[in-house]
Amino acid sequence: MIKPLRKRHLQIWTAIAVLLPIGIILSWLVIPNPVPVKILPTANVDLLPVIQDKKETAQYCLNLRSNSDKTSWQLEWKNKLELTVPSAVIYAPLNPPEGEMQSFTVDRAQLIGRIEARGDYVFPLKVDSAKKNELNLVVYDFIHEKIIDSITLKTLR
């Protein structure tokens, strides 16, 4: 290697030595409201006995489950067909405006869980059925940052 090339290597690696740790640490620190890694397959979870509400489309089937005294809740998601969105996230918007899902933002929503192209999933939910008789959910494509579907489930039978 000639001397100018050695010098350029040293300059580049000195710059990388400074910039790369900064980039890695900053990226680590700014991770927002992370999507949970743990996706719980139905087979590994004890399903709660009461189905409070259900929704079915051509692509998926949803069951809102609870125990008999409605102190524990679960969202059961079953993919019927492979989703065209390979990785999606379910959010429960906090105080959504009346009938207005367009104003949904990730910052003002509770994360429920992540679903992938196929498979069945179960997510624990926090629902206060005494205060709210509806549970609004948004299925969100986090790669393209757009809403795939909006779902409303009844918490009162």
Binding site: M1, I2, K3, L5, R6, R8, H9, L10, I12, W13, T14, I16, A17, L19, L20, P21, G23, I24, L26, S27, W28, V30, I31, P32, P34, V35, V37, I39, P41, E82, T84, V85, P86, R114, E116, A117, R118, G119, F142, I143, H144, E145
Partner: protein, 343 residues
């Protein structure tokens, strides 16, 4: 070194090396796919392929970037350098599979052109957590592509070593882009400290190796030679140089290799005409000084490549007085015959 261009300059060593690369890659992919199928039954074929090829490409990129400094720190790693291009093309091929399937899976199912979708689906360039990390990977892939298609002596010759080397030094930018692609991409939703630790350890290892190698080179460049007489500089003892090997000295900012061959000393410019390899770190094979990087050869007595090759390097006067080697740092024109000095 050959007189004409061929797609791949196969020899026994390269075949063994490529066999090892292929074996490792197949083994890695098989292990990754098996473990994924065991622990994540829901994973689709595309997802498994995207993840397995990406992790393997990142691993190979780290190995590729470590080879250069390892060779400068220890000559035993030089065979890896000789074969590094094949590893680079392998890494690009894996990155291309990862990129192609990612675009297919994430951008090809809508009514927008997948490449337009890649850049238009997320335009949060001002936000670090929501940064469009896929664009970073795309630009890194473009750099790897340019490197892979020019990774041949035909292009080295036609672009000139200076332009070729400058192009290939963009690999460092590509490495930075890849790390940020990972950190702003998968790490943002697979919040697993293990992934961050692996990337961080990889970066620290590479930076340390490169800075250690640079420090070693700097020490060679800054060595002071006290004894000077009639334009000659006393550089070392005769017995400090092994037969068929050389020692490198940096005098007046130029590196000179002093070779010992058949009980004679010869001095030539240390920089190979091919890619700037350190001729003094090679050895004499079949009577020719052989560059450790890619095997380019020069005759010790005149610095010329044996016919039909035309590469030439400068030669220097060297003499022995009382068991000490004296070197004149004024170069003769490239290819000038010098008789050498009897030890």
């Amino acid at each position: 070194m050959s007189a004409s261009y061929s797609a791949v300059g196969w020899n026994r060593q390269k075949k063994i090396y490529d066999g090892l690369i292929a074996g490792f890659c197949i083994g890695y992919l098989a292990l990754f796919i098996s473990l994924t199928l065991i622990f994540n039954e829901q994973a689709t074929f595309e997802t498994i392929l995207i993840r397995s090829t990406s992790t393997l490409a990142v691993l190979l990129l780290h190995v590729i970037l470590a080879i250069g400094p390892l060779c400068r720190l220890n000559k035993k790693f030089l065979p890896l350098l000789y074969n590094r291009r094949h590893l680079g093309v392998t890494m690009f091929s894996l990155a291309l599979i990862h990129g192609s399937f990612s675009i297919l899976q994430f951008h090809a199912l809508g009514n927008t052109n997948p490449l337009v979708s890649l850049f238009s689906s997320n335009t949060n360039y001002g936000s670090l957590p929501a940064f469009p990390f896929q664009a970073l990977g795309f630009f890194a892939l473009i750099i790897f592509f340019l490197m892979a298609i020019t990774s041949h002596d035909f292009w080295l010759h036609h672009l000139s070593p200076k332009v070729w080397k400058s192009l290939h030094m963009f690999v460092y930018l590509a490495y930075f882009l890849v790390v940020m692609h990972v950190m702003l991409g998968v790490i943002q939703y697979e919040k697993n400290p293990l992934f961050v630790a692996i990337i961080f350890i990889g970066a620290v290892t590479l930076v340390t190796l490169h800075l250690l190698a640079a420090n070693k080179e700097r020490r060679t460049d800054h060595r002071q030679f006290a004894l000077q007489k009639e334009g000659f500089v006393s550089v070392c003892g005769v017995n400090d140089i092994e037969d068929s090997r050389a020692k490198i000295f940096c005098i007046d900012k130029e590196r000179i290799a002093v070779y010992r061959h058949e009980n004679k000393l010869f001095a030539i410019h240390n920089v190979c005409k091919h890619q700037g390899g350190p001729l003094g770190e090679g050895k004499i094979l079949d009577g020719c000084i052989t560059c450790p990087w890619h095997g380019y050869q020069y005759l010790p007595q005149n610095g010329q490549s044996p016919p039909p090759f035309t590469e030439k390097v400068s030669t220097y006067d060297v003499k022995v007085v009382d068991g000490k080697v004296w070197l004149n740092p004024n170069p003769y024109p490239e290819g000038t015959e010098r008789p050498g000095c009897l030890v």
